[in-house]
């Protein structure tokens, strides 16, 4: 039965995620074995192991979970809402807009005013971007319109971010801004996790609340509405959920693209193409993908550590290109 395959998929992804988490806690300048990792995690190991695992490596793992789950779930939810498999927070400029919000607070020195200014600005800009996209593409528009709207929005956010970079008064500010462009989860502490955790959890809860309605939306807005789906509530859930989760993550990690595109696409067939059923696996799969990419970039021997956003873009962009080639007939 579909029900149990869906449960099996979620279980598989959860096990994968936990295994990757243990690997991620083990690798680094001081490699730790499984026993040492578990000892450090549970507080039964040596003081040094506890410090490395709990204070240095665990925040990175938790951030990877939050970021991947946000991008995966919001990608799947946006695809369901817009009934378009190419919708994704990165590609549509939602992440870039959230990044712009963060950069602007940095540039104008507002981030020093209050700890929460930066995530609040990120979420606000993500919300504005999502609303703009929805407004531009709602009337059953084609893939082409959606992508063009996304490209325009990304370009605008990118241009304004570059402007801030260009005018940045000193090199340190410029470096901070570059970070938002590239995206990374290294050298983060639990303070960073705390900054985004409540919003990410609230956002993902909103997205999951849209599951049933997204299923029915496969029939189109008119039929879904006559089946009792509250379209306004559905839109609010998806748009607010995306803005909260993606906006809060970007405030801490910078913009990281393509996760929301790749993950739902890979998992869709395993949930029999049901848009609502796709949400939870996409959250788990997104977390696993981000964590996997983060492990990979730490294992690759480069003179300077690669940035996570660079790695996901290197993998995601060709994937997107392949998807475009495959659906080219449909798009034009």
């Amino acid at each position: 039965m579909p029900n149990s395959t869906s449960a099996r998929l979620n279980l598989f992804l959860l096990v994968l995620l936990l295994s990757l988490s243990l690997v991620s806690l083990g690798i680094g300048p001081a490699p730790l074995g499984l026993g040492e990792v578990l000892g450090g995690l549970l507080g039964t190991g040596a003081e040094e192991e506890r410090l490395i695992v709990q204070q240095i490596r665990l925040p990175r793992v938790v951030l990877a979970w939050l970021l991947g789950a946000s991008l995966g779930a919001s990608g799947a939810a946006l695809q369901g809402l817009l009934r378009n498999p190419l919708a994704e927070p990165g590609l549509l400029g939602i992440s870039a807009s959230a990044g712009l919000g963060a950069v602007l607070t940095l540039y104008f020195g507002l981030s020093a005013v209050n700890l929460w200014t930066l995530p609040a600005a990120s979420m606000l800009f993500a919300l504005l971007a999502t609303l703009a996209l929805y407004g531009l593409t709602r009337a059953g528009s084609s893939n082409l319109t959606l992508i063009l709207a996304g490209v325009a929005l990304s370009a605008l956010a990118g241009a304004l971010t570059s402007l801030a970079l260009n005018l940045a008064p000193n090199p340190t500010d410029a470096q901070d801004i570059v970070l938002w462009l590239l995206g990374s989860i290294s050298d983060r502490s639990f303070d960073d996790v705390r900054l985004c955790l409540p919003f990410v959890l609230a956002g993902i809860a909103l997205l999951l609340g849209a599951r049933q309605a997204l299923e029915v939306l496969a029939l189109g807005e008119a039929e879904a509405s006559t089946l009792g789906v509250d379209l306004v509530r559905l839109r609010v859930l998806v748009i607010a959920g995306t803005a909260l989760s993606v906006g809060a993550c970007v405030a801490v990690t910078g913009t990281i693209g393509f996760v929301g595109l790749v993950v739902p696409h890979l998992l869709r067939r395993f949930v029999q193409y049901r848009p609502g059923r796709l949400l939870l696996p996409s959250a788990l799969g997104g977390a696993a993908l981000v964590l996997g990419a983060d492990i990979a970039l730490r294992l690759i021997d480069t003179s300077r550590e690669l940035m996570l956003g660079v790695v996901t873009a290197l993998v995601g962009a060709p994937f997107f290109l392949a998807l475009v080639l495959r659906s080219r007939k449909d798009m034009l």
Binding site: L219, A222, E223, S225, T226, L227, G228
Partner: protein
């Protein structure tokens, strides 16, 4: 007994009046056809009944104003099949039909659980009635046009609402599938369901519908049994055509035959009515 009553219905969209003072009553167990040329307001009328458009006037279901019935409750009393022959994701036929049970599912998180026994039975009945039982595990994008039309119809039937609305359910089908779908709808009526369908094909309308409403430029031209609506005068005036009429197996039918150029032109200009 009247199931649905419409009084003085007016619909205006972007400054254009699409329906003007339309009144009608639909009886329980009736197969009621909406006919009229392109742009007559047939789809608009169905959408207004389905509460998809803002309107003035009254639409009463069993004496209760439809817009005052809560959405979920209304969804159990009235089911709607749109003209758009499209399902947006390649889900299976079974999953598609199961969407018809949405009005009966709990709204609480996480997703209303698995379908109840009555849901499963309703889904099975719908799959069997539309003869798509054998296709239930197939993906909707792998079906032929006729199979997809029946699968979408099964989704409509699965709601098990007393009133079904279907906007051109046979428009894109070949004659065999047209007849098959119409016979399915007829069978549903015999079971007590009331159906309002938009039809373009006058022969099918005359063959299957109990009563017809003929619309033209948003206004009601005729309402009643087939032979009172599809009169030579109405056909000439509204459609600008002449039709053959006949009786076969005790039932009247009509067959559009030629257009009347002068009248057709006048009708297009909106001068003759």
């Amino acid at each position: 007994m009247t199931l649905l009553e419409i009084k003085g219905l007016e619909v205006e969209l972007a400054g254009k009046r699409l329906l003007r003072d339309v009144s009608l009553g639909v009886r329980r167990g009736e197969l009621f056809g909406l006919i009229g040329p392109n742009g007559a307001g047939k789809s608009t009328l169905v959408k207004a009944i389905a509460q998809l458009l803002a309107y003035r006037g009254q639409i009463l279901l069993q004496g209760r104003a439809l817009e005052r019935i809560a959405a979920r409750d209304r969804a159990r009393r009235l089911a709607y099949l749109s003209q758009e022959d499209r399902v947006h994701w390649p889900i299976s036929v079974q999953d598609l039909v199961a969407l018809g049970r949405h009005p009966y599912r709990g709204s609480w998180w996480p997703g209303g659980g698995s379908p109840s026994r009555s849901d499963r039975l309703a889904i099975e009945r719908a799959l069997e009635a539309t003869q798509v039982w054998d296709l239930r595990a197939r993906r909707i994008d792998e079906l032929s046009g006729g199979e997809r039309a029946r699968a979408r119809l099964a989704r409509l039937l699965a709601v098990e609402a007393p009133l079904l609305l279907a906007d051109e359910p046979v428009a894109a089908l070949d004659p065999m599938h047209q007849l098959r779908v119409m016979e399915l709808l007829q069978a549903q009526c015999r079971l007590g369901t009331t159906l309002i369908i938009v039809l373009h094909d006058l022969t099918l309308a005359s063959r299957f519908c109990h009563r017809l409403l003929l619309l033209h430029q948003g206004k009601r031209v005729a309402l009643g049994p087939v032979e009172q609506v599809l009169t030579p005068e109405n056909l000439r005036r509204v459609y600008g055509i002449q039709a053959l009429t006949g009786v076969h197996e005790g039932q009247g039918y009509i067959l559009p035959w030629t257009c009347e150029p002068s009248v057709h032109f006048a009708a297009r200009e909106g001068a003759s009515i």
